[in-house]
C-alpha cells in the first residue's frame, strides 16, 4: 500500500509539473469544491420555486430563473454534485469492471482470456449510447442510480482491453517471475507487484470513463430518459429545452449548464493529457 501511495504522490508531483494537467486539476478540483460546498455557495435551494418564472439574469438571480421559478445559478451549483457523482461512481464502476476483466483476462490467459476478450471486443463495437437509450426504455424506474449502472454496463470494454494488454506486457516481465521465485501468492503478485505499475493507466482509464459517463448522463437526461426531478446539468438542459428557454430569451439557463459540462470535460481531458505524458514520456511537448 505504501508503494501505491508513494507512487501516487510522485505521480501527482509529475502531473502538477505539466501546465495542462495543473490547469485540469485546478478546474476539476474547483468543481469538486463547488459540489461539496453547494449548500453554502448556492444562494437558494435548487428546487425552491419561490421566485418569479423565467426572470432574466439579475443581481438576485445571477443566471435568471426557470419556468418553474427556480434559481438557475443555484441549480448550476447543485448540478455539479450530480455530474461529479455520476462521473466518480460510473467512472469507478467502469474502472473496477475493466480492472477485474482486464487483469483476469491478461493474467489467466488460455480459454478464460479468449472468452473474456471476445466479450470485450463485442462490448467495444456495440454502440454504447443507443444501447443506453434502449435499456433506459425498458427499465421501469429512472434515476441517477440506474444511469450509473447502465453507463457502467456499457462503458467498461475499452479500459478492459487497455488494461489487459498492459497486464500481458507486465506479467511477462521478469520481476513477476522473480516474485514467484520469492514465494509470493498469485493475489499478492497481481495486486502488490503488478497493479501499482498500472497506476497511471488505471487513472487514465478512470478519467476517460468518468468523462464518458458525465457526458452520457447529460445526454440521457437531456433526452428525458433520466429522472428529470434530479437537479443536474443534464436535466437543467432538458428543462431548458422543454421550456423554450432560447425562444424565451433565457440564454443563460441553457448556456450555463452546457458550459459547465464542457469545462468539467476539458478539465478531465487536461488531467488525462498529463497522465498520458507521464505514462508515455515521448508525448511531452
Amino acid at each position: 500500500m505504501r508503494a501505491v501511495v508513494a507512487s501516487l504522490v510522485s505521480s501527482f508531483g509529475l502531473l502538477w509539473s505539466n501546465w495542462r494537467a495543473r490547469l485540469g486539476l485546478v478546474m476539476v478540483g474547483g468543481f469538486i469544491v463547488i459540489a461539496i460546498l453547494a449548500p453554502w455557495l448556492a444562494p437558494y435551494s435548487p428546487t425552491s420555486q419561490a421566485f418569479g418564472r423565467m426572470l432574466p439574469p439579475s443581481a438576485a438571480h445571477l443566471l435568471g430563473t426557470t419556468q418553474l421559478g427556480q434559481d438557475v445559478f443555484s441549480q448550476l451549483i447543485w448540478g455539479a454534485r450530480t455530474s461529479l457523482l455520476v462521473g466518480a461512481a460510473a467512472g469507478g464502476l467502469v474502472t473496477l469492471i475493466a480492472i477485474v476483466i482486464g487483469l483476469l483476462s491478461g493474467f489467466l490467459q488460455g480459454w478464460v482470456d479468449d472468452v473474456l476478450m471476445l466479450l470485450t471486443n463485442v462490448a467495444l463495437v456495440i454502440p454504447g449510447f443507443p444501447l443506453m437509450i434502449v435499456l433506459s426504455a425498458y427499465i421501469p424506474v429512472h434515476g441517477v442510480g440506474v444511469i450509473i449502472i447502465v453507463l457502467s454496463v456499457t462503458g467498461w470494454a475499452w479500459g478492459a482491453r487497455v488494461l489487459r494488454s498492459q497486464m500481458i506486457s507486465l506479467r511477462s516481465r521478469d520481476y513477476v517471475a522473480s516474485a514467484e521465485f520469492s514465494g509470493e501468492s498469485v493475489l499478492r503478485i497481481v495486486f502488490r507487484e503488478i497493479l501499482p505499475n498500472m497506476t497511471s493507466l488505471i487513472a487514465a482509464s478512470f478519467m476517460g470513463a468518468a468523462m464518458g459517463a458525465i457526458l452520457g448522463e447529460a445526454g440521457l437526461e437531456f433526452l428525458g430518459f433520466g429522472n428529470p426531478q434530479v437537479v443536474s446539468w443534464g436535466t437543467m438542459l432538458y428543462w431548458a429545452e422543454n421550456s423554450s428557454a432560447l425562444i424565451a430569451g433565457q440564454w443563460a439557463w441553457i448556456f450555463a449548464p452546457g458550459l459547465a459540462l464542457a469545462l468539467l470535460g476539458v478539465g478531465i481531458a487536461f488531467i488525462n493529457f498529463g497522465i498520458d505524458i507521464i505514462s508515455n514520456p515521448k508525448l511531452e511537448a
Binding site: A3, A177, S178, E180, F181, G183, N197, E284
Partner: protein, 619 residues
C-alpha cells in the same frame, strides 16, 4: 594523415528535459577525425556519450538533445550550420548510418525494395529506369549476402540478422564516404554477429568507404577497426591505432577494459575487473572522471580539471596524466583492478546429481508454426558444482532454464529433484520447490519491480520461505547485502530498485535468489546486459558465493570465456540438442564439435585481429 572525411571538434551535447527541468551533458567535448576509407571504432560503456556523438553528426539527436558547442565538419562544411535542405543532400549521399536496433530500423509497412527506392529517388537518381533501380537493389542485397528475392519482402518477414544486412546494404546504396554504425549487431546471435562484422570489414575494404563503428565491446572493435577511440564519461580518453592500443594501452581505463578479455583456451585464464560503478553523468567527481575506479589515481587526478589529451608522438592521444610516462614504460604491467584467475583444475563432477533432466523435449507454437526449442535433452547437475550451459540464441538454453525452474513444462521427459518430477508439481509443490531452486535473471532491471525498495524485495523470500516476521528478516537482509558487496547495507535498504546502477541491481537479484537459501541456483546470462567493466565482478561474486555456500550452479551463457571462468563442466547446446559436454577446460580448450569451435571463433577476442591493419596512420 589523409584528409579527414569528418572532423569533429570539441563537441558538447546536452539533453534538456522540460518536464524534469534537468539538463544532462552527455557529450562533454569530444574531438575526433575520420580519414577517408578508415575503419574507426568507438568503444564505451552505456552513458559514455558514444551514441549521442554518432547521432550528433547527422543532427539526428532526439529526446531534447542539442549540440551546445563545437564543430562537425564534413569536407569542410560545418554540418551543424547547414540549412535543413543542404544537410539533406549530405545525408546518405555522403554519410549513411546503420542504427542500433535492427528490429526497428526498417519501415514496417514498406517493402525492402521501396526503402531502397525512396532514398534513390530523394537523391535525384530519377534518371534511372525502374529496371536499373531494381538491378542496383539486387546487386546491393547480393553484396550483403541476401537473396535478391527478398527485395519484395516486408521487414517482419526477415530474421534479425537479415534485417541488419539489409540495413547495411541500404547504407551503401549511394556509395557514401562514411558509414556510421551504432551497435549494429547488438541483440544478434554471437555467430551471426561475427559473420556480419567479418563481411562488413571485407566490404569496407573493397569499396573504400570510411566506417565509424560504435560498440560497447572492445573485443569486437579491436577485431575489425583500424583505429580505436575509447569514450568514458562523455569524453574520448584514448584514440590510438588498434594495434598500438592493443599492445600498449595507455589510459588506465583502456587497460582495464582490455584486461577484462582473456583467451578462454589458455591454460590459466586471468581477467581483472574494474571496481566501482560506471560514472553517473549527472554527478561527476572533480578531476578525472575515472579516478574513483582507477588504481593509479594520484592526488592530481582527483582535483581540478579533466586531464587534457596528451598527443603522442607514436600517433594518437590519451587523456591521462600518466599517458606520457606510460609510453616510456611500455612494459609496465601494473594491475589496475581485482584479478580473477582460473587455472585448469580437475573438479569432481562425478558427485551425485541434485537435478536430473532426462530426454526432455519442448516445442513452441509461434503463429501456428511449431518451433522446436529442445529435442531429447538429458543432463544432470552434480551437487556443489558449476555447470555452464552454452549456446547461441535459439539454442534452447533459456528454455531449459525455464523448464528446470518449473516456469514451464516440457512436452516430454522428466526433470527430477529430490525424488520429485518437477513438471508434475502443482502450484503448492512448485512453491516448495522454489525454495530449493532459485533463478538469477538476465536483465536485473527487468527482474526487479521498480515500485519496490531493495529492503522489501529481499525481505519477501525470508517472510515467505523462512516464516519470519519482517523485523526478524531485517537482520538477515543486512547480512545478505553485505555478502553481495552492497555496503553499507543500510544505505541500500530504502532505495528503490530503479535508483541502482546495473551492477548493484544484479547484486540485489543475486541476493534475492540467495535469500531462500537454495540448493540450486540457475543463472540465465546474468552478465550479458551489464557493462563489460563490471561483468567480471559479478562472475567473481557468484564464484565466491558458491564456494562459501556450496550450492549447485547452472550457469547459462553464450560466452565461453565466462563459462571457462566459472564452470566445472560445460554443456554445449545447438538447436535444441546437446552437441558436446564435458569438463570445462576440456571442452573449451579442445572442442570436438564443429558448433563449439564456431562459438569459440565468434567470441570477440582482441588478441585475434580479423585482418591485418590496412594502412597505418601516418602523419
Amino acid at each position: 594523415m589523409q584528409r579527414p572525411v569528418v572532423s569533429i571538434e570539441d563537441v558538447v551535447v546536452t539533453y534538456r528535459s522540460k518536464r524534469r527541468h534537468t539538463a544532462l551533458t552527455s557529450v562533454q567535448g569530444m574531438s575526433l577525425e575520420i580519414g577517408a576509407g578508415e575503419f574507426v571504432g568507438l568503444v564505451g560503456e552505456s552513458g559514455s556519450g558514444k551514441s549521442t556523438l554518432a547521432n550528433a553528426i547527422l543532427r539526428l539527436l532526439t529526446g531534447g538533445g542539442e549540440v551546445e558547442r563545437g564543430r562537425i565538419s564534413f569536407n569542410g562544411q560545418d554540418l551543424l550550420a547547414l540549412s535543413e535542405d543542404a544537410l539533406r543532400a549530405v545525408r546518405w549521399q555522403d554519410i549513411a548510418v546503420v542504427l542500433q536496433s535492427s528490429m526497428n530500423a526498417l519501415n514496417p509497412v514498406a517493402t525492402v525494395r521501396s526503402q531502397f527506392r525512396d532514398v534513390i529517388r530523394a537523391h535525384r537518381r530519377s534518371s534511372w529506369s525502374e529496371q536499373q533501380v531494381d538491378a542496383e537493389i539486387s546487386r546491393l542485397l547480393s553484396l550483403v549476402k541476401i537473396d535478391p528475392k527478398y527485395a519484395s519482402a516486408y521487414p517482419h518477414e526477415l530474421s534479425g540478422g537479415m534485417k541488419q544486412r539489409v540495413a547495411i546494404a541500404l547504407a551503401l546504396v549511394l556509395d557514401p564516404r562514411l558509414v556510421i554504425m551504432d551497435e549494429p549487431t547488438t541483440g544478434l546471435d554471437v555467430i551471426i554477429e561475427h559473420e556480419i562484422l567479418t563481411d562488413l570489414r571485407e566490404l569496407q575494404r573493397e569499396r573504400g568507404f570510411a566506417v565509424l563503428l560504435i560498440s560497447h565491446d572492445l573485443g569486437t572493435i579491436l577485431e575489425v577497426a583500424d583505429r580505436v577511440l575509447v569514450a568514458y564519461a562523455g569524453r574520448i580518453v584514448e584514440d590510438r591505432p588498434a594495434e598500438a592500443l592493443l599492445n600498449h594501452p595507455l589510459h588506465p581505463y583502456t587497460r582495464a577494459l582490455l584486461d577484462c578479455y582473456a583467451d578462454p583456451g589458455a591454460d590459466q585464464v586471468r581477467i581483472t575487473y574494474i571496481p566501482g560503478q560506471p560514472p553517473n553523468m549527472a554527478a561527476l567527481p572533480p578531476g578525472c572522471p575515472f579516478w574513483p575506479r582507477c588504481a593509479e589515481a594520484e592526488e592530481r587526478c582527483k582535483q581540478g580539471r579533466v586531464p587534457p589529451p596528451t598527443v603522442l608522438e607514436s600517433g594518437g592521444m590519451a587523456a591521462c596524466h600518466h599517458a606520457a610516462a606510460e609510453v616510456a614504460a611500455v612494459d609496465s604491467a601494473r594491475i589496475s583492478g581485482a584479478v580473477y584467475v582460473k587455472s585448469s583444475t580437475n573438479p569432481n563432477v562425478n558427485r551425485e546429481p541434485v537435478i536430473t533432466v532426462s530426454d526432455v523435449s519442448k516445442t513452441y507454437h509461434r503463429e501456428r508454426r511449431p518451433v522446436v526449442a529442445l529435442r531429447g535433452v538429458s543432463l544432470s547437475l552434480p551437487r556443489g558444482t558449476v555447470t555452464a550451459l552454452v549456446g547461441g540464441s535459439g539454442s534452447g538454453k533459456s528454455t531449459l532454464a525455464r523448464l528446470i525452474t518449473g516456469m514451464e513444462r516440457p512436452d516430454r521427459g522428466t526433470i527430477r529433484f529430490d525424488g520429485q518430477d518437477i513438471p508434475r508439481l502443482g502450484r503448492r509443490g512448485l512453491h516448495a520447490y522454489r525454495q530449493h531452486v532459485q533463478m538469477v535473471f538476465q536483465d536485473p532491471f527487468a527482474a526487479l519491480n521498480p515500485m519496490n525498495t531493495v529492503g522489501y524485495t529481499l525481505i519477501r523470500p525470508f517472510v515467505n520461505y523462512g516464516r519470519m516476521s519482517s523485523a526478524e528478516a531485517f537482520d538477515r537482509v543486512r547480512q545478505l547485502l553485505e555478502q553481495v558487496g552492497l555496503t553499507p547495507a543500510e544505505a541500500f535498504f530504502g532505495k528503490h530498485t530503479g535508483e541502482l546502477s546495473g551492477g548493484q541491481a544484479q547484486r540485489v537479484v543475486v541476493a534475492k535468489a540467495l535469500a531462500a537459501d537454495p540448493d540450486v541456483l540457475v543463472a540465465d546470462e546474468p552478465i550479458s546486459m551489464l557493462d563489460v567493466s563490471i561483468r567480471a565482478g559479478i562472475l567473481r561474486l557468484l564464484d565466491d558465493l558458491r564456494t562459501q555456500r556450496g550450492f549447485t550452479l547452472l550457469y547459462i551463457t553464450h560466452d565461453l570465456l565466462s563459462a571457462r571462468l566459472l564452470a566445472d563442466q560445460v554443456i554445449v547446446l545447438d538447436r535444441g540438442e546437446i552437441v558436446e559436454q564435458g569438463l570445462a577446460s576440456d571442452v573449451i580448450r579442445s572442442p570436438q564439435h564443429e558448433y563449439t569451435r564456431l562459438l569459440l571463433r565468434s567470441i570477440p577476442n582482441p588478441r585475434r585481429r580479423m585482418l591485418p591493419p590496412k594502412a597505418q596512420v601516418s602523419h
